[in-house]
Amino acid sequence: MLTDTPRQLTIIRDRSDKIFRGVIRAGGSTVLVIMVLVGSFLAYRASQALNKAGWSFFTEQAWEPDAGKFGIAAVIVGTILIATVAIVVALPLSLGTALFITEYAPRKLRSFLVSIVDLMAAIPSVVFGLWGFFFLQQSIVPVSRWISQYFGWIPGLGVTGVDPTDPLATTTVYTSSTFIAGIVVGIMVTPIVTSIMREVFSQTPVGEREGALALGATRWAMIRNVVLPFGQGGIIGGTMLGLGRALGETIAVYMIISPVFFIQPNILQNGASSVAALIALRYGESTEMGLSALMAAGLALFTMTLIVNFGASIVVSRSRSGAAS
């Protein structure tokens, strides 16, 4: 049998193409150079501090770079705690809202709600910061107090140094806490997470939905057996993307927390810490070494966000919904 062997093709490009390819290649390379520059500069400047601190950089809680005593143990833990609270707030809210929009809301209202959520995702974080500082800070105190009074025995929800039954006890211990910062950041990332989840849910194959309903499933049974398994990747991925945003949030956190440099495990208690807020607080008054230490902290934060984001993309790509998009 006679088969065609693939022929060698030679592409001859004209001059305009050569220029074009040169230009876009230059564009790509420039971007690469900029990005690599940012990364390597960070790493280079951070190395100064990392060399000085050694492994204690990951175990030391204090932040006194000039005294040579500094580490990210407290700030990283603080950042993770704030982000955790944020996700605990954001996950049910956004899952519920995404399901509400795709499954329960009246059809006419649906596209309007979608626009609202997308718009909310673009609200500047400083606006949420304002709301958190001027409204939530004061109105959440009774809730914090109540939680610590009845659930204080759960590790992390207790508050030290105050007797909750004493009506004259100061309420300042409940302000500027991880809890408040977490709620504000949580509400801030909710629209983004919702937007992603809704997008995934809306892609659920109609055939499968209708099949489930035709078999007599209730709406919830259909959601549980069709929509949620299909959108699993979107739920996990969206949440992790929200987590990435929550980790890097600066201004809203800066406005609310009262920074401390020891691990504060009690989320309801005054005193919290965050890498991004630490940078915003200390960048100006730092010496060379201080700035280098801040760079190292920034690098650690960047690495953490990077891992979260890549984790999200892998989870999503392995799911059906991710593959479909």
């Binding site: 390819r21 971007v31 929009i101 001027f134 009774p142 992603i196 209730t218 991004a276 940078i279 790509s317």
Partner: protein, 421 residues
């Protein structure tokens, strides 16, 4: 067939205008096999039964009554939030109970979840709307003054009333900074995105991975980078330009990522047709790829702009602070809206705080305008579904690029799953 439809129509007419779209429940039309019946009118599957409504209202009232008794007599509840939570929990309990009287466990679950999901949705929307109303409400004092939009703070000290001074300098600063940032990021970002799509290869894959990694860069770190290099190392003053550079570093990966996704959505057949007609690559890109994805690209640019214009942390480190209008980005500090908000609310003076909230309202309005523009442009695509695809590409961009990449490595499994289901 003709007669049956006519009959159905006439019954519909009899039943009345309001039910015109639905076939009467009394009439069942059975068609012969293979007979063409036209497009069947859609049946409404939903709807609310009066019993459902009564259960909800009843449960709500009962829960309210019990919550009041609890709050006043048994365990004192302080504060509205606590009372609301107690009421809600009781309501859910009562509702489940009422539904369980005449439905099975499956239906109870269904109803309870429906109420839960709806209330979560309502809760989120009310919180978000409350945030916005709160901010506008606190700024309402400052907003009615025309000077708020036309003057800077040069002649307004801490003791001056709201009728003096405004945020014109911050509006101008924001616009100038974002314009410079766009002048940097649009050509670079679009060129890089075109490069990623047009010259695939190991190098472009590497570029894509790096760009994707950089989307994780926290905005404060972008600011810190510019602060440490441009300002401290090269000695450029804190200025609008430095702020624009910081915003650019932050926006660039976001824009490339979404533009990359948008360009991928251009049908391969279109490109092949163009090449097949003998057009060069450059001509194909210029005449086919870019026009086809124009609205998508614009949307991605505008949404990146909305993100860049609202970020405080990079400008906090790089732009310096001034109370006066400065249109020269090369020297002297230049303030932008988010930074102005941040500085205003630090003042103990109530008028200054009102100005801060007013500025926040202005900033939100600016973002809203950008968003509406994005929507209008996004809606101008030839095919209607493209809008949804672009929106998806925007918000979903992160996954789709990486997902496609990984997916291309393991295509079989996924296709199989898809077919099997």
């Amino acid at each position: 067939m003709a007669t049956t439809t006519k009959a159905a129509k006439s019954t519909n007419a009899l039943v009345g205008k309001s039910r015109k779209k639905r076939p009467s429940s009394k009439t069942t039309t059975i068609h012969a096999r293979g007979e063409f019946v036209g497009i069947e009118p859609k049946r409404t599957l939903g709807g609310i039964r009066i019993g459902d409504l009564l259960s909800i209202v009843g449960a709500a009232v009962a829960a309210f009554a019990l919550a009041i008794v609890l709050a006043t007599q048994v365990a004192p509840i302080t504060g509205g939030i606590a009372f609301f939570v107690v009421w809600y929990l009781l309501f859910m309990g009562f509702y489940a109970l009422l539904v369980s009287i005449d439905d099975t466990k499956t239906f109870v679950m269904d109803r309870v979840v429906a109420v839960l999901v709806t209330s979560l949705g309502v809760l989120l929307f009310s919180v978000l709307i409350f945030v916005i109303v709160f901010v506008i409400g606190r700024g309402a004092e400052a907003l009615p003054f025309l000077s708020f939009y036309t003057e800077d703070m040069g002649l307004a000290g801490p003791l001056d009333p709201l009728s003096v001074g405004g945020v014109a300098h911050a509006i101008a600063g924001s616009l100038i900074q974002i314009a410079i940032a766009l002048a940097i990021t649009i050509p670079l970002g679009i060129a890089a995105a075109v490069y990623l799509n047009e010259i695939p290869g190991r190098f472009s894959r590497f570029v894509r991975t790096i760009v994707e990694a950089m989307t994780a860069l926290p905005s404060i770190v972008a600011g810190l980078f510019i602060f440490a290099t441009v300002i401290l190392m090269f000695g450029l003053p804190k200025s609008g330009l430095a702020a624009s550079l910081a915003i650019s570093v932050m926006m660039l990966p976001i824009m490339i990522r979404s533009a990359d996704v948008v360009l991928r959505l251009v049908p391969q057949t279109l490109k092949e047709a163009s090449i097949g007609l003998g057009a060069s690559q450059w001509k194909t890109v210029w005449n086919v790829v870019l026009p086809t994805s124009r609205s998508g690209l614009t949307t991605s640019i505008i949404l990146a702009t909305a993100r860049g214009i609202g970020e405080t942390s990079p400008v906090l480190l790089t732009s310096g602070f001034t109370a006066e209008l400065n249109v020269n980005p090369l020297e002297s500090p230049m303030v932008s809206l988010p930074l102005a908000i941040f500085q205003f609310v630090k003042s103990p003076e109530p008028t200054m705080i009102a100005r801060g909230f007013g500025t926040a309202a202005v900033l939100m309005l600016l973002v809203l305008t950008l968003f509406v523009i994005a929507r209008i442009i996004g809606g101008m695509t030839p095919e209607k579904s493209a809008r949804a695809r672009i929106r998806r590409a925007e918000f979903f961009g992160w996954f789709s690029t990486t997902a496609r990449k990984i997916n291309s490595l393991i295509p079989r499994r996924i296709t199989n799953v898809k077919e099997a289901s």
